[in-house]
Amino acid sequence: MEPILELIHVSFSYHSEKGETAALSDISLSVAPGEFIAVVGPSGCGKTTLLSLISGLMAPESGQIRLLGRPIGSSGANIGYMLQRDHLFEWRTVYDNVLLGLEIRHRKNDRALARVDSMLDTYGLSEFKKAPPAALSGGMRQRAALIRTLALEPDILLLDEPFSALDYQTRLEVGDDIGSIIRREGRTALLVTHDLAEAITLADRIVILSARPATVQRILTPVFEDSCDTPLKRRSSPLFSGYFEEIWKELKANG
């Protein structure tokens, strides 16, 4: 199958008056449709930079990023981006927050609204439509943020540590939750995280980056028993700790 996203020898450096900081060096990666990829690496290794490049907010210094087989910008591909915090605007109701993307792109048509309504229904938010975001729990807020992103029917979802601002218990629940929503909606996703357990339980493939400047150190494909079909079940699988140790060793090896 043709990859939905391809990174070909991508490099990027930050420039300031104090000097140059290489963030990414020669990253190559391809993502197939429907795949869930997790990217892990030491903190500050340039994971967020990677997402900014893919989403087109910044341009790579060298190399190429292709979406749907065409260079970004001209690909017309739709990218969904989930930030660390939900950033629901407190001056809008939950419903108006969810519609923000559609509003910006002038796509608030009947079909899109019906889709949003059914997602709000499915994911237990319909009774909070008129409520301010403050009325939602941490987990519900992330779900609302995800629906805001999915409303635009993105070809690929970029997730930038979307659970890191949550407390531990909520985090497990929301990770489970968001993971299953993304799978149920059949979306392709690229998750950046420093939480190894999260990566192992959610992803089809795990990309391990080295310390800065980040290079692809290894790609790992965790395989679980068929019965372990949700992130929470995967956590209790005997295979889990093996993968955990493997990634841990890789990360430590490159210090």
Binding site: L57, Y81, E90, A134, R148
Partner: protein, 268 residues
């Protein structure tokens, strides 16, 4: 929230209400005491009421001027000029702050000049304005606008820049441009700042209007003050000052009302 109040909560609320009433009463008593002392000392000759006037003299002057309605004209003129300059400052500073945010190069270029214009004592400009614009309302409004405008631009621009960059990023990732960022993030998140700025600006506009009226007017409360002092009618001067106090307080309360309405609406 509909639970019946506990006894402790009820007692607390009662104490709070009592405290509020006492403060109000105290404020009223302070006013009575002050004007009573003023009146008394003026009548016994401790204060020279030719120089200091007295509350009763001021009221008399006010009543005289209501007979030919002239006082209402003067209040009206000052009121209209203040409101006009306030509206110009509010709209102008918002527009200017938006332009500065949209064009960071322009902001960098203009920054020292804005700082300079902001700290310049605007009363120094008033004589120049009279020469340029003539001795009329235009001069007065321009003077008032110049007092409040630059500070307001700088406050709003700083406010825009302090908005969480991730909120801006969110709009960009949803495909929005700079216009969307302004309309959907910067302005809404700066509404509290804009309103608290309005509170400052209405006061500054009143200052500017009075400065303008000192120099370039034939009506208005500022004019009455200057005219009164020239012909040594201190009753007129003092009365005008008291009216200015009331006007300033009225404006402030009005915007305070707007502020509570907005914050209530925001709280849902």
């Amino acid at each position: 929230m509909d639970n019946p109040l506990s006894a402790a909560q009820a007692a607390y609320l009662k104490a709070q209400a009592r405290r509020r009433r006492l403060v109000l009463l105290g404020q009223f008593l302070l006013f009575v005491l002050f004007s009573g002392l003023w009146e008394l000392t003026a009548r016994c000759g401790i204060l020279n009421d030719f120089i200091f006037s007295s509350p009763s003299q001021m009221i008399k002057t006010f009543l005289q001027m209501t007979e030919d309605l002239s006082i209402f004209r003067h209040i009206g003129v000052t009121l209209a000029e203040t409101v006009e300059s306030f509206l110009i400052v509010t709209a102008g500073s918002l527009a200017a702050a938006m332009v500065l945010w949209l064009f960071p190069a322009l902001a960098a270029l203009l920054e020292p000049y804005l700082v300079m214009l902001n700290s310049l004592p605007k009363s120094a400009l008033a004589p120049v304005l009279i020469v340029w614009l003539g001795s009329n309302t235009k001069t007065i409004v321009t003077a008032a606008v110049s007092v409040a405008l630059f500070g307001s631009i700088m406050t709003l621009y700083t406010g825009f820049r302090q908005v969480d960059p991730d909120k801006v990023k969110l709009i960009r990732t949803l495909g929005g441009g700079s216009g969307d960022v302004l309309k959907r993030v910067l302005v809404p998140s700066c509404i509290p700042l804009i309103v608290s700025g309005m509170k400052v600006n209405i006061g500054l506009c009143l200052v500017g209007v009075v400065i303008g009226e000192f120099l370039a007017a034939e009506e208005g409360l500022g004019y009455l003050i200057i005219y009164g002092s020239q012909v040594f009618k201190m009753d007129l001067v003092m009365m005008s000052i008291v009216l200015l106090c009331l006007l300033a307080m009225g404006f402030y309360k009005l915007i305070g009302l707007l502020e509570t309405r907005i914050s209530k609406k925001r709280a849902g």
